[in-house]
């Protein structure tokens, strides 16, 4: 065994240099986007800065992938806005009902996808809230508003892409390769460990499958990164599929009684290990892998539909409240509700996300107020605006890179809300009344959404487990009756692994352990049957 000296990465104030570099990149991109938007005299320059804040991701591949989907989703959203306004502009209540229905549909679509695709689905939803609802009283301007928003988003995308390229933002593939290699080590350890007790073995296998499946969104975001992105993406996908197959082979080996002939099962495990090594080598060299496997994703229609209906209900409740209250700027508040519903739908725990949004709203208002009325306080020069933005943007961006997911969400939402409340414009307004209104409505919207989510709660973990197990059982019956022929055995294993990854498990309770054990037993048996059938067809 060899040992390597561990060099500690350079850090300042306990934050690694890469996080500072990320913060500075985001700040430069926001300044470039604002400068371009002011120069082009766009109607809503703050949208360009907001786009940069939303696309603030640490690697080039992720940011580009999100940018492409953001453009497509904006196009869909603006088209839907024009259609909804054209049909319902005379009837406010019907329009709000149509909006709730559209948001519900988009959240349902997001539930069937993951990563940036899910984000694009919810973005198509809340673009309608931003474009159509804010033009409720002037429906004839919906097209201009859509075009203005589209232009600002395009500026934001170009700014972050150019800044990421010029400032040498790290590529995604080395990080992904490192994570796959670490998982490879863990799979080898798992295979080497003698059969422990059944409960610990189940938890270890489920943990491995969960961590491989969690890479799925990153596997699809490599393609746009560089000229070798497409082949590296194929290599990363094959590696992930081979890792799942290796876990399955290790489990098959462990399940054999000691008296059985272990040679065939050991050969299978070694073959899978070789496939993982091939995939990793192809990923780092940027060459095509020997086997090109797809990474199909399992998504429950039932869970997605339930989430969609619930999102529509939350928005409808908030809309009813605002209609009854009759406040003058309710349209902006309703848009915020739609945005928080949408962004929350792409996280595993929408309620937790709303709580973070609720906590973030006053923090972001305080930050925006300090920036607007204490730091800038009436200045008109762009360089001063750029300098004043630096500590706020870099600080929140550094917070985004923290490993704690709650702190990271807090950082991201603070930056987004701060730009929404501050709304940089040319010439700057410095209007305390509009600042107070916007801050108040961001706070009220998140509080209202929290109340709506208490009235219409998300389904319990037990029910979700039941649904996922029922679907695993149905799929296993399809395997038995030879009705699943569309996927290669390894691809089908990966799909099953993404289902196991979605089974919610809390603190190790005996019930959760039993659910995981049942799901893994379907996984093992289905994999064994599919592989045996594939061998039959070959021989």
């Amino acid at each position: 065994m060899t040992t390597a000296a561990i060099t500690r990465p350079w850090s300042l104030a306990g934050v690694p240099a890469s996080a500072w570099a990320f913060g500075i990149r985001i700040w430069v991109a926001i300044v470039v986007a604002l400068a371009a938007a002011f120069w082009l005299e766009l109607e809503v320059p703050s949208s360009a800065a907001l786009t940069v804040a939303i696309l603030a991701l640490p690697t080039r591949g992720q940011a580009l992938d999100k940018a492409v989907y953001r453009s497509i989703a904006t196009l869909i959203g603006v088209t839907a806005s024009v259609a909804i306004i054209a049909i319902f502009s005379q009837a406010r209540d019907l329009l709000l009902a149509a909006l709730a229905g559209w948001i519900g549909l988009c959240v349902y679509a997001a539930g069937l996808m993951d990563g940036t695709r899910a984000y694009a689905a919810v973005l198509s939803g809340y673009t309608v809230a931003l474009v159509a609802i804010q033009q409720l009283d002037t429906p004839e301007h919906v097209f201009e508003s859509g075009v203005a928003r589209g232009a600002a988003i395009a500026i934001g995308i170009v700014a972050i892409t150019v800044v990421n390229d010029v400032f040498a933002a790290p590529d995604s593939h080395p990080q992904l390769a490192a994570r796959l290699a670490a998982l490879h080590g863990r799979v080898r350890d798992y295979a080497k460990a003698a059969f422990q007790n059944a409960a610990r073995d189940t938890a270890a296998a489920a943990g491995l499958l969960r961590d491989v499946a969690a890479l799925h969104p990153d596997l699809t975001s490599l393609a746009g990164e560089s000229s070798t992105g497409a082949v590296r993406g194929a290599a990363a996908r094959s590696t992930a599929v081979a890792l799942v197959a290796a876990v399955s082979a290790a489990r098959a080996l462990k399940a054999l009684p000691p008296a059985a002939d272990l040679a065939a099962a050991s050969r299978e495990l070694a073959r899978r290990d070789g496939e993982v090594c091939d995939g990793l080598a192809a990923l780092s060299a940027g060459t095509r892998p020997q086997r090109a496997w797809r990474t199909p994703l399992y998504r429950s229609q039932r869970i997605a539909a339930a989430a969609g209906i619930r999102a529509a209900a939350w928005l409808a409740l908030a809309a009813v409240f605002f209609v009854l209250a009759g406040w003058p700027t309710a349209d902006a508040a309703l848009s915020t509700v739609a945005v928080v519903i949408g962004l929350g739908a792409t996280t595993p725990n929408p309620n937790g996300f709303t709580v973070i949004a609720f906590v973030t709203a006053p923090i972001a208002a305080a930050l925006a107020g300090t920036l607007e009325f204490l730091v800038l306080d009436g200045v008109n020069e762009f360089p001063l605006l750029a300098l004043a933005l630096a500590p706020f943007v870099i600080g929140t961006a550094v917070l985004m890179t923290r490993p704690n997911p709650s702190l990271a969400s807090l950082g991201r939402l603070s930056l987004v809300f701060m730009i929404v409340i501050f709304a940089p414009n040319n010439p700057p307004a410095y209007d305390p009344q509009s600042f107070l209104f916007t801050s108040l409505f961001v706070g009220v919207s998140t509080a209202l959404l929290l109340a709506a989510q208490m009235l219409v709660p998300t389904e319990s973990n037990e029910r979700r487990q039941r649904w996922l197990l029922a679907s695993a059982r149905r799929d296993f019956e399809r395997v038995l009756s030879r009705r699943d022929r569309s996927l290669a055995p390894e691809e089908a294993m990966f799909r099953d692994a993404t289902r196991i990854a979605q089974i919610p498990v809390g603190a190790a309770s005996p019930r959760d352990g039993a659910v995981l054990a049942e799901a893994l037993s379907y996984f093992d048996r289905a994999a064994a049957i599919r592989l045996a059938r594939a061998r039959e067809t070959v021989s």
Partner: protein, 66 residues
């Protein structure tokens, strides 16, 4: 005087630059397999900057030529 070709989609005038930018993007995407074959990312220390420069060059050529 160089005149730019107008881009009109459904009676909506679109700035000619948008057409050039999109065409350049399509060209660079089409070139990617060729760039991979000639090991473009091994030729430069910062392939991302090189690719961006290639995009700007194509965009400039399109603007001058059409």
């Amino acid at each position: 005087m160089h005149s730019f070709s107008e881009l009109i989609i459904g009676d909506v005038f679109v700035a000619p630059f948008v057409g050039y930018a999109l065409t350049a993007l399509v060209i660079i995407l089409a070139l990617r397999p060729i760039l991979r074959l000639c090991r473009f990312d091994k030729l430069f220390s910062h392939p991302a900057v090189a690719e961006l420069s290639l995009y700007v060059t194509i965009l400039g050529l399109l603007t001058v030529a059409f």
